[in-house]
C-alpha cells in the first residue's frame, strides 16, 4: 500500500505547547502567586527563615502521604483511612518507645511494617474481594481510630526520647562550617551548598535528557520553556536554600521528603510498576487482559500507602512530642485535596507526583499564611474548599475546551 502513514502534521507552535501543558505550568504559577500573595499580606513573614522551616515541618507529612495517595487515586481508588493510620502508628510508636522502652532503631522499622500490614488488611478487601475502596477505607477510618483510643486508653503519651524527636525536629548538621565565608549571615553553609549542588544536578540532568532526546529524534519542549521553567525552579530553590542556611539549616524531614519525592517521581515515570498502575487506572479490564496482575497491583498500592502513613504518623508524633488519639483527624481530606488540586482525576489513570507535591504545598502555604494572618479555622476551611473546587473546575474546563 502506498497510503501515507501520518495525516498532515503541523508542527506544534509555542501556543499549542502552552495549551497542552497548561495544567502543569498553571499549577506552578498558582503556587508562586499564592506565595507572593501571602508574602505581601503577612507583611513578609511567610518567607522568613523561621517560617519557611515551620512550613516544611508542618507540611512534610501531607506531602509524604500525598505520594502514596496519588498512586491510589491513579489506580482508580481512594483511601479515607490515612488520618486514622497516622494516629494508630503514632500511638503504637509511643507505647513501644515510652512505655516499653524499645530502642528507636527497632521501633521505626516495626511501625513501618505495621503500617504496611494495615494497608494490606484493607488492600485485601479492595483488591481480592472487590469491595469499593471508599467503603473499605471508610470502615478502616473508623476502626483504626477506635483502636487508637483503646490502645492509648484515651490519654496522650509522651515525651519521646531525644533521638526519636530528631526524626522530625532535627536539622542536618553543618559539616562545612570551616569554610563559611559569611559567618555573620550564614549559619549553616551546608544547606546552601547542598541546594546549589542539587540545582546544578537538575539542570545537568535536564540538558542531558534533551540532548539524548535530540539524538534519538524525539521532540523536546521548546528551549525557552525549558529555560524558563528551570530558571524559576532554580531561583526559588536557591532563595529557599539561602533562607534556610541563615537559620538552622536543612530540616531532616526535608531530606526524607526530597528523597521520597525523587523516588516516587521515578517510580511513576520510569518504572514498569508505575506504568502498570496508570494503565490499570485508565482501563482496568484492558490492563488485566494485557497480562497485568491487577489485583496484586491494587493490593500493593494500599500496602505502600499504609507504610507512608505510618512514616507520617511517626513524624507527627515526634514533632508534637506526644501521641494523642486525636492525631491526624481530617488529614485524609488534605491529602486527597492535594492530589486533586495537583491534577489527578477522580476516575483514575491521570495524575502526577509533581502535581500532588505542588498541590500539597499550595494547601500548606494557604494553611500557614492564613494562620499568620490570624484567620480562624472556619475561614481556612472555607478558602481551602473553594480553592479545591476552582482547581478541579480549571481541569474540567480545559478538557472540554480542547
Amino acid at each position: 500500500m502506498v497510503t501515507e502513514t501520518s495525516t498532515q502534521k503541523t508542527t506544534p507552535s509555542i501556543g499549542d505547547y502552552l495549551r497542552n501543558n497548561i495544567r502543569e505550568y498553571g499549577l506552578l504559577v498558582a503556587l508562586v502567586v499564592i506565595m507572593l500573595f501571602f508574602q505581601v499580606v503577612t507583611g513578609g513573614v511567610l518567607f522568613k527563615p523561621v517560617n519557611i522551616t515551620n512550613l516544611i515541618l508542618q507540611n512534610s507529612f501531607i506531602v509524604i502521604m500525598a505520594l502514596g495517595m496519588l498512586l491510589i487515586i491513579v489506580a482508580g481508588h481512594i483511601d479515607l483511612s490515612v488520618g486514622s493510620i497516622v494516629a494508630l502508628t503514632g500511638g503504637l510508636s509511643a507505647i513501644m518507645l515510652v512505655k516499653m522502652g524499645i530502642h528507636y532503631s527497632l521501633v521505626v522499622p516495626l511501625c513501618l511494617i505495621l503500617g504496611g500490614v494495615i494497608g494490606a488488611a484493607q488492600g485485601y478487601w479492595i483488591a481480592y474481594q472487590k469491595i469499593p475502596a471508599f467503603i473499605v477505607t471508610l470502615a478502616g477510618m473508623l476502626v483504626f481510630r477506635g483502636v487508637t483510643y483503646v490502645v492509648l486508653q484515651n490519654r496522650p503519651i509522651g515525651p519521646f526520647p531525644k533521638e526519636f524527636q530528631v526524626l522530625s525536629t532535627g536539622f542536618v548538621p553543618d559539616i562545612l562550617w570551616f569554610a563559611n565565608p559569611l559567618p555573620g549571615t550564614i549559619t549553616n553553609l551546608f544547606a546552601l551548598v547542598a541546594v546549589l549542588v542539587l540545582v546544578g544536578l537538575a539542570i545537568y540532568a535536564g540538558l542531558k535528557d534533551r540532548a539524548s532526546n535530540e539524538k534519538h529524534g524525539t521532540e523536546n519542549e521548546p528551549f525557552a520553556f525549558f529555560a524558563l521553567q528551570m530558571g524559576i525552579i532554580a531561583v526559588v530553590a536557591i532563595f529557599l536554600g539561602f533562607q534556610l542556611s541563615t537559620y538552622r539549616g536543612l530540616p531532616n524531614v526535608l531530606v526524607v521528603m526530597a528523597v521520597l519525592i525523587a523516588l516516587y517521581t521515578f517510580i511513576t515515570t520510569r518504572s514498569t510498576i508505575g506504568r502498570r498502575v496508570y494503565a490499570m487506572g485508565g482501563n482496568e479490564k484492558a490492563a488485566k487482559l494485557s497480562g497485568i496482575n491487577t489485583e496484586r497491583l491494587t493490593f500493593y498500592t494500599f500496602v505502600n500507602m499504609g507504610v507512608l502513613a505510618a512514616l507520617a504518623g511517626m513524624i507527627i508524633a515526634a514533632r508534637l512530642n506526644s501521641a494523642t488519639p486525636k492525631a491526624g483527624v481530617g488529614f485524609e481530606l488534605d491529602v486527597i485535596a492535594a492530589c486533586f488540586i495537583g491534577g489527578a482525576s477522580a476516575s483514575g489513570g491521570v495524575g502526577k507526583i509533581t502535581g500532588a507535591v505542588i498541590g500539597a504545598f499550595i494547601m500548606g502555604v494557604m494553611n500557614n499564611g492564613m494562620s499568620i494572618m490570624g484567620l480562624g479555622i472556619d475561614y481556612q476551611q472555607l478558602v481551602k474548599g473553594l480553592v479545591l473546587l476552582a482547581a478541579v473546575f480549571f481541569d474540567v474546563y480545559n478538557k472540554n475546551k480542547g
Binding site: 502513514t5 499549542d16 520510569r270 502498570r276 487482559l289 489513570g349
Partner: protein, 511 residues
C-alpha cells in the same frame, strides 16, 4: 426530489497537531441515501460530528447550509431540533435501562416531572413496530443482542422527528441477517422521504442502498459518485478511497503447514453470570504451525467465549479441559501464564477491553510486554520509543505521533494499536477476534498481509470472524461453531458460504 437539504462547504477542522478535515464539501439531496466512504482516519466521523454540533460552530472553518440557511450549531440539541440525528460509531444506550427508558431518555413523556408510563410504552411499541423490532418495551438493553440495540438507536432517532439520519458504521458489529434488516429499513425510510447519510466500510452494502457516494481521502473530498448515472463497482469505490487500483482483496499466500502448535481438548465452560448454565460443550480444535485457522458462526455461537476462556480463563467459570502447545500440556489458568505459554488474544471490543484510551500509542503498544523494553523494572525510554515507532510505521498507524492518545485515533487505527501490542509479545499462536471490524479495505489488506507473514514465520493464527468472505479468503481450515459447540470442520477445499451455513442450519435442527 431535487431539493438540496444539506450542503457543507469548505469544512476545515484542526486538532492540536493534526488537520483532520481540509476543505471538505458535501452536498446531500432530500430523500436520498448518501454514503460516506474513506479509509480509516480519513475524517468521516469528524465531518459528521461537525455537522451535528458535537464540535460546535467556531471550532471549525467553513459553512453548513441546511434547508437553504447557514446554520451554526453550538450543541447537539441545536441540530436535533432541526431533525438532524446522529447515531455514533459507539452506541450510546444505557445497558441497565429498558428499551422504552432508553428511547425517551432526556425526552421523557412526562407532565410536571412525572413520567406517563402508559403513553411511554405505547409510543415505544409504535416505534419498535416501525423499525421491525419484536421485543417488549420493558426489555433491558443488556439482554438484547447488538443488532437489536442498533434498531433501538434508530427507534430513538425516529422518536425525535428525524429528517436527516446519520449512521456511523451501523453494521460494523452486525451479522449479515441483521445488517440486511437494517438496510431494508433505510430503504423503507427513503420511500417515506427521509434523508440519510451512512458511513460504512462494507462496500457491498453501500452498493446495495446508496444513491450517491462521497469519497473522502486524507481529510479532503475526492469525488461524489452518482449510482444512478453509472453502475459503480466496488473496485471503482476502492480506487477512489486509496487513490489507485487494487488488484486483489486478499494477498496471495503459499501455506507451509508444520507441526502441531495449539491443541484444545474436551473444553467445557459454564456461563460467566448464569453460573449453572453450561455454555461451551466439548470443544476440540487445533492449530498447526504456519496455519491460519478460522472459526465461523453466528453472533452468540460462543466463539469469543471460547477464545477468552482459553486465554487465561478470562471468561466463564467451572472450566475443564486440556490445552497443550507442541503436544505438551500448558497452564493457561491466568493471563500472564497464557501469554507465557505463547498465546495472544486480540479482542473484538477494542475500546473496553483492548486499549487504555487515555494512554498514548506508545504506552498501549508496550503494555503487554514491558519487560522487553525495561531492565530491573526500569523502562528504557529510547527502546520503548523505537519499538512504538517501528510498529507505528509497520502497521501504518495514522496518527500525528506515537504520543497521540488512543482515544483520539480513528476506529481502524485503534485496532492496529491493539494488534501492535500483541505482535510485540511475539506469540506463537495469535487469536484474532473480528480483527477487521470497522476497518477499511486498504487496512484490511495490510492486516491480511501481516497474518500471512506471521504464518510464514511459523506461527499459528486462529481467526474468529463474522465476515465469511474474509474467512474463506484467508484461512486454510475453518471450524464452524453454533450454540456453544463445534459443529463442523471444513478444509479449504470444502469451505464455502453455503457449506458453512448448511453446517449451522443442520446443527440447529439437531438441538
Amino acid at each position: 426530489m431535487d431539493n438540496i437539504i444539506l450542503e457543507m462547504r469548505g469544512i476545515t477542522k484542526t486538532f492540536p497537531g493534526v488537520k483532520a478535515l481540509d476543505n471538505v464539501n458535501l452536498k446531500v439531496r432530500e430523500g436520498e441515501i448518501h454514503a460516506l466512504v474513506g479509509e480509516n482516519g480519513a475524517g468521516k466521523s469528524t465531518l459528521m460530528k461537525v455537522l451535528s454540533g458535537v464540535y460546535p460552530a467556531g471550532s471549525y472553518d467553513g459553512e453548513i447550509h441546511y434547508d437553504n440557511q447557514v446554520r451554526n450549531f453550538s450543541t447537539i440539541s441545536d441540530s436535533e431540533h432541526l431533525g438532524i440525528i446522529i447515531i455514533h460509531q459507539e452506541l450510546a444506550l444505557v445497558p441497565l435501562l429498558s428499551i422504552a427508558e432508553n428511547i425517551f431518555l432526556g425526552n421523557e413523556l412526562a407532565t410536571n416531572g412525572v413520567i406517563d408510563w402508559k403513553q411511554t410504552f405505547a409510543r415505544t411499541k409504535e416505534l419498535l413496530d416501525k423499525v421491525g423490532l419484536n421485543e417488549p418495551p420493558t426489555a433491558r438493553i443488556t439482554d438484547i443482542g447488538i443488532g437489536k440495540q442498533q434498531l433501538v438507536e434508530i427507534a430513538k432517532a425516529l422518536s425525535k422527528k428525524v429528517r436527516l439520519l446519520i449512521l456511523d458504521e451501523p453494521t460494523a458489529s452486525l451479522n449479515e441477517t441483521d445488517s440486511d434488516a437494517l438496510l431494508k429499513l433505510l430503504m423503507e425510510f427513503r420511500k417515506q422521504g427521509m434523508t440519510s447519510i451512512i458511513i460504512s466500510h462494507k462496500l457491498n452494502e453501500i452498493k446495495k442502498v446508496a444513491d450517491k457516494i462521497t469519497i473522502i481521502r486524507d481529510g479532503g473530498t475526492v469525488e461524489t459518485l452518482d449510482c444512478h448515472n453509472e453502475d459503480i463497482s466496488e473496485d471503482r469505490i476502492i480506487k477512489g478511497m486509496v487513490g489507485r487500483d487494487m488488484e486483489d482483496r486478499y494477498p496471495p499466500r503459499e501455506p507451509k503447514i508444520g507441526g502441531m502448535l495449539l491443541e484444545v481438548k474436551n473444553w467445557n465452560v459454564f456461563h460467566q453470570h448464569h453460573r449453572d448454565r453450561q455454555f461451551l460443550h466439548d470443544i476440540n480444535f487445533n492449530v498447526r504451525a504456519g496455519e491460519v485457522v478460522g472459526i465461523a458462526g453466528l453472533m452468540g455461537a460462543g466463539r469469543t467465549e471460547t477464545a477468552m476462556s482459553i486465554f487465561g480463563k478470562s471468561w466463564g467459570h467451572k472450566i475443564t479441559g486440556e490445552v497443550s502447545m507442541h503436544g505438551k500440556p500448558v497452564d493457561v489458568s491466568t493471563i500472564p501464564r497464557a501469554i507465557d505459554a505463547g498465546l495472544a488474544y486480540v479482542t473484538e471490543d477494542r475500546k473496553h477491553l483492548g486499549l487504555v484510551l487515555n494512554n498514548n500509542i506508545m504506552h498501549n503498544t508496550t503494555l503487554s510486554n514491558l519487560e522487553a523494553v525495561s531492565s530491573a523494572g526500569v523502562i528504557d525510554n529510547h527502546k520503548e520509543r523505537t519499538v512504538a515507532t517501528d510498529y507505528r510505521s509497520k502497521l501504518r498507524i495514522r496518527s500525528h505521533s506515537i504520543y497521540q492518545e488512543a482515544v483520539n485515533l480513528s476506529g481502524g487505527n485503534q485496532q492496529k494499536v491493539v494488534l501492535s501490542k500483541w505482535l510485540f509479545t511475539n506469540p506463537e499462536v495469535l487469536i484474532l477476534d473480528e480483527p477487521t471490524r470497522g476497518i477499511d479495505v486498504g487496512a484490511k489488506y495490510e492486516i491480511y498481509s501481516i497474518i500471512n507473514q506471521l504464518a510464514a514465520e511459523g506461527k499459528g493464527i486462529l481467526m474468529i470472524s463474522s465476515e465469511m468472505p474474509e474467512l474463506l479468503g484467508t484461512c486454510d481450515r475453518i471450524y464452524v461453531m453454533n450454540e456453544g459447540r463445534i459443529v463442523a470442520e471444513l478444509s479449504k477445499a470444502e469451505a464455502s458460504q453455503e457449506s458453512i451455513m448448511r453446517a449451522i442450519m443442520r446443527s440447529g435442527e439437531k438441538h
